[in-house]
Symmetry: D2
Subunit: 375 residues, 4 copies
């Protein structure tokens, strides 16, 4: 047994998500990030690689894919942490080199690209994971188990929200790179806020309820003058099996940091979870007091227990959830090395393609004047 070797594309200086990936990949002591093409700018690429003490620094991902595939001790998998428009070409390059891929969401720029990636992944044995991190919190795992076990009864209402305020000013015109590409259709795709965070919300909702969204009726807005993509979206939802709901996402909700909140109400119990206090899950049984489930306890279901590393009361957060995704993905990398079939207990290309369709249909619904669209 050895630590796995990872490489990264993107995530250079200034991109907070880069170190999130590194920390998450290495957290359990099962991998080291050793190579990277961290920026298209050679200077930034070199400096970023030095910051990270990388063994091998590249300035082109194509070169990196080729060199690592050829190396005796090349990387076991690649992390894609670039802006959205590069997800597709970078993923394609590493899949072609038979190097496993773990990629930021969204999967790609367009539904067509997403479909092509599905084909590529399905036609080979190379692994592909998409970092829908919010599904990896222990309390979210518990929520999913509670729904699956029937504890909530028939699901009736689902209220999901993801609000932030970081785009409430036109930062894209003030030199903020993160804002610039996220509000540029050529780099971000069809959706602004709906793509950046709305897809997380939709993915989380479907994950916990185990029910697909069947239809949506959306109203998208751009509150900041001159912004080319939506920065706010409200939608009505219908889920398979008869549940109804509301999805709200916004990046102009003044004062909100990263308020992803989920509520599900069934015929026998309700539940509520807030990402900003992620170690608590509220269970609301009919006619009884609310129960406050907390991560780390023995009374949780096994998937929630195994997703926590610490005893109760020792808060775990975003990085640990991210590391849970990596743990499942890297377990599959090792299983393939050992000749075992992968377990695929993480979001993959299909979840990614579904996210792209979600964005496309939300935009279509809104443009048509809030008309129901099937998903």
């Amino acid at each position: 047994m050895r630590r796995l070797r990872a490489g990264i594309v993107g995530g250079g200086r200034g991109a907070f998500i880069g170190s999130v990936h590194r920390i998450a990949a290495e957290l359990d002591g099962q991998a080291l990030v050793v190579a990277g093409a961290m920026s298209a700018d050679p200077g930034i690429a070199r400096a970023s690689a030095a910051d990270w003490l990388l063994e091998r620094a590249y300035t082109s991902y194509e070169e990196m894919a080729a060199a690592e595939a050829a190396a005796a001790e090349g990387i076991d998998f690649v992390i894609i942490a670039t802006p959205n428009d590069l997800h597709f070409p970078v993923a394609r390059a590493f899949l072609a080199a038979d190097i496993h891929v773990i990629c930021d969401k969204p999967l790609a720029l367009t539904v067509a690209e997403g479909e092509e990636l599905v084909r590529l992944v399905e036609s080979g044995s190379t692994l592909f994971a998409l970092t829908h991190v919010y599904t990896a919190y222990p309390a979210v795992r518990e929520a999913r188990e509670l729904v699956r076990s029937g504890r909530l009864g028939e699901i009736r209402l689902c209220l999901i929200e993801y609000t932030q305020d970081w785009l409430m000013e036109p930062l894209e015109n003030r030199g903020n790179k993160q804002a610039a590409w996220r509000t540029d259709p050529a780099k971000a795709g069809l959706g602004g806020c709906i793509g950046d965070i709305g897809t997380h919300a939709a993915n989380l909702l479907e994950y916990v309820t185990d029910r697909p969204i069947e239809a949506m009726c959306a109203d998208l807005s751009s509150f900041v003058a001159g912004r080319r993509l939506d920065d706010d979206a409200h939608m009505l939802l219908r889920l398979q099996g008869g549940a109804k709901g509301t999805l709200v996402c916004s990046q102009v909700a003044c004062g909100e940091e990263n308020r992803l909140a989920l509520r599900i109400y069934g015929s026998q119990a309700g539940l509520e979870w807030h990402q900003e206090e992620p170690n608590t899950l509220l269970l609301k049984p009919a006619g009884r007091p609310w129960e406050r489930l907390r991560t780390g306890h023995g009374y949780l279901a096994p998937p929630a227990r195994s997703a926590a590393r610490l005893p109760p009361g020792h808060p775990e957060g975003y990085l640990e959830a991210f590391a849970n995704l990596y743990r499942a993905f890297m377990q599959d990398v090792r299983r393939l090395m050992d000749g075992q079939p992968p377990l695929r207990d993480y979001p993959g290309v299909h979840a990614g393609l579904r996210g792209l369709r979600f964005v496309a249909q939300a935009v279509a619904s809104s443009r048509a004047g809030s008309v129901w669209q099937a998903l």
Copy 2:
């Protein structure tokens, strides 16, 4: 100066709202409820009047209106606390007798009845108040002042919710009178949940933002089998001035008691209020820590300060808010006695008519498949 004399129609044994009205009317020591037609059932009417130590008990509101109008020391105003279908005829009878009216919402069963009441009230000098109690909390008053003062900037998003769970089972088939009339179109009107609590939510939103809802796109449901009116509603909103929002109301949200919650996000600050912890108002200024405004403090605006009776940290609740509505209404009763013009600082027939139209348009939108309807 003497205490005002009040009468009540409805509110007999078993109707929790009856004593709410009595307590609220009497709380500030400015009135006494002395007469009532508390039930159409003579036995219940008598027993209820005895419970309340009333001086004069009636079994018919027509008789009561006539007798009190004729009496030397007749009542100064009447409280209407009946099921919805009686609001119109009872109000009409007392208006005809020139007795001031304070009435439960909704104003009436139909828009047509509501329009007739508007005509009746406008053609005379008799006062009419509608008990949209939630606008009378001190923190709500503060919220309204914050919006009016421009502290929030341009209003962008409004999220309002009113969820309960008391109708999650078919209580209307199990002998529950409150449930029976609220789910019966003949007694409740066009709307179930949307009329019972959705109107409170819409009224509160318009009150705080000072902006009318211009259009709505609704999806109403009846989750309990056999129920004839909606018990759940989700809707997209557009407000005058460009704000967008979402309104959710439900009476089948398992585990929720009376979760009325309002959030408003502007270009400079956001705010958040929860009826179940009514003495706290969260203010979220851009780029600064949230502030937790609490009722009773000197830093609040005058309308919020005068709506609280106790120092900070001495919780006030629903009854005190209700008493605030009564205080404003009774102040007008006294002003008319003194020959002064009324101030009308409480919801009246126009708010009531708007509520009836809100229900009608929500139902119309939903029936048409969630099509935008103007309000």
Copy 3:
């Protein structure tokens, strides 16, 4: 049946506790305040009586006791809402006139006065109630039932706190009457903060645990320069049966409003209650999720259920708790009228005497350098 007639001594303009008593006495429609000696200042007495629409205004409590005792329709009971130094003489006067008494805490200025009141009350049949209001919240009643039922097991730790900040500046030197008498040993007694709010905390603790404090080790301070009584106290506690604990009270805790908070930990469960959010009680069973009990629910014990007037989610507060004390007291007034023995389900002279001893022993412990003192 008629409404009871109440009189009040003290509580004139500027004294917030006066209207608290009036509202609480009248809230359930069972009494009216009709007479008062609301101030020693004749002008204030008259103006206050006019504000309250009183039928009979006095400027002397002795005169009031005599006149009301002699009147055909004299008051049924008197409310004492004066500064502490008058509690004893006023109570003595009304007891002598055979008029039932409900009195603000503390019972008197000194232990000797308290003992005298115990003798007076025990030697007659006149009722005496002390308004330790915090024991009358529904959630506190539930807490007491949970302890009594054995749900918590053996009680181990008790943490009680009562912090405020209203005396953090020397208001007594700035014309604030409430501050002036509370910091004046001649008017307030031996204790400042410890008497004003520490006694509430101790009373609540003993009420909920059903166990007397056996000993205390205290450290009292006066943080504001020149203040003659304590404005802050910390103490170690030992309760009968082996439980230990800590009591903190302060009136200089910057930012705190009226933070009375109780926690009790037993061998099988813990519980937690906060007066500022009084409708919630947290129950913490060993090895299980916390439960959030809420007032108004059918799952509560009968004493908690009957202490709430509204359905769950309709917040009740300080005034309603105060009214619960009045309800129990007035029920006894009626029982005596009907020749039935009183139930005495409210704090009386013995609780009052215990409070005076608590203050005396806390002061003694602190003066001796934090030495354990028996209570």
Copy 4:
């Protein structure tokens, strides 16, 4: 630049704190744990080393110290994660080998041992850090800056609490190793709960207030029958400069997980922090609304900003705080390599010795019947 090489003593299978150290040391990509003597049991030592993919496994810490000191690529520092009784001999061995040490608290078993370690560290240039992790949360750093800046004014009250429930049953008799050594005076030292968590509380209080505890008056208990060390402690505190306070710690507080909570009240503002929701700090300015400071924001002081790795709303927790201690310690390791003087921005032997004295004086105070003891 290369990753630093770390070794570990203790922390083998079953000891949760072992992986906490590894994760914290490696989190920022600046170190790798490569060697260990993880258990005195050779089988466990080997298995634990294999779990961690260590390059070099030892069964004796003496052997490890010698071998690593001699190796060309030996470890740069050692982590001590053993039961308390080994802290002293292990630290002495590695200090003797000139290997930097980062050690779990408490520093040693006795004050005498602690004094010896102070001498050893002061007489050489080898670094020594003690993992008082709770001081390393971003919000705690902000709290300290607020006090230092004078924002709170003169400090008056300090309330600190650290409650858990994991020892509420006699786990030491049921095969729980963690419980067994913590309740055994030979392995844990003079204090049970007071040593295990009380020292964290005292350290945190002194850290944030920048004021030493001058005296304490304590009452220690062992609630679980047969337990040889305290499992609960309550104490009165006096701090330099005149502040007073209360410290409560317990490991039998049913339902509490890891409730470390700090409140400080000054003449101009108060503050409050809860370890279980570590990313929030409440600031309570006199006469103004509470402010809710959140980690990750630009409005925080530099020491708080640099202690967070993620944007606001992305929760960070215990592991990240632990990694902050490691970051500061490892920065000093690198500085020494570069010939720069160390910055010592982390707890060291002096803090450790102070903790040992705190335990000794708390025990002495309690044994003498809660007599004030200087610290």
